[in-house]
Subunit: 354 residues, 2 copies
DNA sequence: TACAATCATGAAAGCGCTTTCATAAAAACA
DNA sequence: TGTTTTTATGAAAGCGCTTTCATGATTGTA
């Protein structure tokens, strides 16, 4: 064990300033007016002793932890950087600390985050079982979901993006502008809701254009570079015929492109490839990736904003759908450049069931 | 404020199990043997009441928070994803929670992280003033630095990578294999130590080959795509003559390439461009980026490992230098593929002054 | 000048745990 | 069977704060 000098406590400060601990607490929190002179004395004492209130004691005495928790399945893929950035910034703005837990090893008995150490929780898709979610809902513990609708139609706020619409825009473009008919769709990880909605967008776009849905064109890309690579290689080996790939997300698009190249296919000449998310690198791929821009960072910020409302006892939006926009670049077969946004949508569409 | 049913406390459990709270605490922590039958009763009560100990109370009563803090300047750039992943995983393995704070707004009076709410701290370069660091050192609070040597030669453990060597390998390659003589170096952000060491590697490599150092070839890239883009554009406008660019890091390399392309230069034909870090996308750029692989995720893991030793009262390595390796791809002018590691180094070089 | 109203401050009661110390019950020994 | 050792458990004292309640000092009003 470490032996270090005991840090000063509030009573040391009180002694030094010749006041009671109650008064120190008051100048610390500004809860009750304190005479200017005494306040000055107290502040001097705090500085002199280099006093920092112990977090645990405050939390225990008061009611709030001033901390929000973030539950993630894992930190990987280019997707998480902007999301984390947005959440961190949002937490900072709202005056909360951020406790992060990635639940790679899901041990239900050891609950790392919850009402005992946070004031509220941000839960990313796939990181938790519905039962725990239901429990929190029951005890009215503030929770906001990211990219995941609540189970059993519990009334838990959700922030997500226009996945279906985005995917449909992409597929429409592929069909209408480039005359593609056999478009592969690479699913995301099991249970990942973004993937489900993107699949729906895909199917709807096909239906509109009277293209028959073909099961053999659907496979798993895992929203992951490596997995997509392997999957596309297999499809190629199996002689499946296709003229375009909607990779599920940008990471998977990268893997798909790699596999296609390795097999000698030209992109977009032989096969068009499109992604989803518009990660920062999408534009630097060659050919530059046609994709859908998801306002990932803004999702994070907005999620914290909604959570803050919940934590203040206010109502939060049941559903916040962030707008996505088509980003046409080269990998679909278009000539370089230009960003086309979707004119049918508003900046933020809330409380509307998809 | 939110009104929710009060969560069960240890005394509710005690009542339910017909034991004292001391006994409940004992089965909770396994500190003292408890009779099997009673233990079973207690566990049943815990389950029935859905009891989770309140973190704040444990911390206040015991001495440890079971939390480590991470101090970052900001979460941006492709660099942070693997680093965070490594740190999160390391913390998880060591049984600690992770509290993240990015100090974009540096308010010295409000100390978000410290001895009052964590057992130890990971501090990334550029995120803190030396004074605070010195204070922690004085009170023997466990701190490990990432990519930054301690000020005033305080004895604080450091984890970083072989920056100088990596940069030198890169420049040597450019000179020896590709005959480059006028190599631009793009510095990182002010005060970023990685940048300082890379600059030294750059200069040493020049010296070895008797190439005179030219001030006009040094400029700021900020380890940032956009900043590098602007800088290179300016150098081009100013008519500065160069045949290669060492961009400081991979993000900056991307910006540099973009600026060069826009000016009609061919890469690597007219100008070779190399980066540093080997972020996941480096290989997918075109031309594929020649760079130095930094084991970023492993740095994060190792940092937590060292911090854990400190927190357990053990000694930690004063300096852990993680090995870097040259990754030759196309942007330097080489033909595709092949990874050349540096045979002069061991897996991990520790406690050796650079 | 007398009394009420206002204000600044202190005393003390928790918040929910861990841990020490004491004690009753059980086991071991003679 | 009586005495000592061991084991399981409870009572109670904090840990360092916030907050309520009471009180003495100050100001205002007539």
């Amino acid at each position: 064990m470490i032996r270090r000098k005991k840090p000063p406590t509030i009573s040391h400060v009180a002694q030094q300033a010749k006041v009671s601990i109650a008064t120190v607490s008051r100048v610390l929190n500004g809860t009750t007016p304190v005479d200017d002179k005494t306040a000055k004395r107290v502040r001097a004492a705090i500085n002199k002793l280099n006093f920092v209130p112990r977090h645990a004691a405050r939390v225990l005495a008061g009611k709030r932890t001033h901390t929000i928790g973030l539950l993630l399945p894992e930190i990987s893929g280019a997707f998480f950087q902007p999301m984390l950035k947005g959440i961190e910034a949002g937490a900072h703005d709202a005056g909360y600390d951020l406790l992060i837990h990635s639940t790679q090893i899901h041990d239900p008995s050891h609950r790392p985050l919850g009402e005992h150490n946070t004031d509220g929780l941000l839960v990313f898709t796939n990181s938790l079982d519905d039962q725990e979610l239901a429990r929190w809902h029951r005890i009215k513990f503030p929770v906001v979901l990211l990219h995941q609708t609540p189970p059993d139609s519990l009334n838990i706020p959700v922030i997500t993006i226009e996945n279906k619409n985005g995917a449909a825009m992409l597929i429409n473009h592929l069909i209408e502008i480039h005359g593609k008919r056999r478009i592969v769709f690479l699913r995301g990880p099991e249970g990942h809701e973004d993937s489900v909605w993107r699949a729906r967008g895909y199917r709807e776009a096909l239906e509109i254009h009277k293209i028959k849905f073909d099961h053999s064109l659907i496979a798993s890309g895992g929203f992951d570079d490596e997995e997509a690579f392997i999957t596309i290689q297999q499809m190629l080996t199996n002689g499946i015929d296709f003229d375009a790939v909607f990779a599920g997300d940008d990471d998977a698009a990268i893997g798909a492109i790699r596999a296609l190249r390795m097999a000698g296919r030209v992109i977009p000449g032989d096969v068009a490839v499109v992604g989803f998310d518009d990660i920062p690198f999408a534009r630097y791929l060659s050919p530059a990736l046609t994709t859908v821009r998801a306002p990932i960072e803004e999702v994070g910020r907005e999620a914290v904003r909604q959570l803050a409302r919940l934590m203040n006892g206010e109502q939060a939006e049941a559903l916040t759908l962030m707008r996505t926009e088509l980003v046409i670049r080269e990998s679909c077969g278009c000539a370089p450049a230009s960003t086309i946004s979707n004119p049918l949508q508003d900046e933020l569409i809330s409380s509307t069931r998809r």
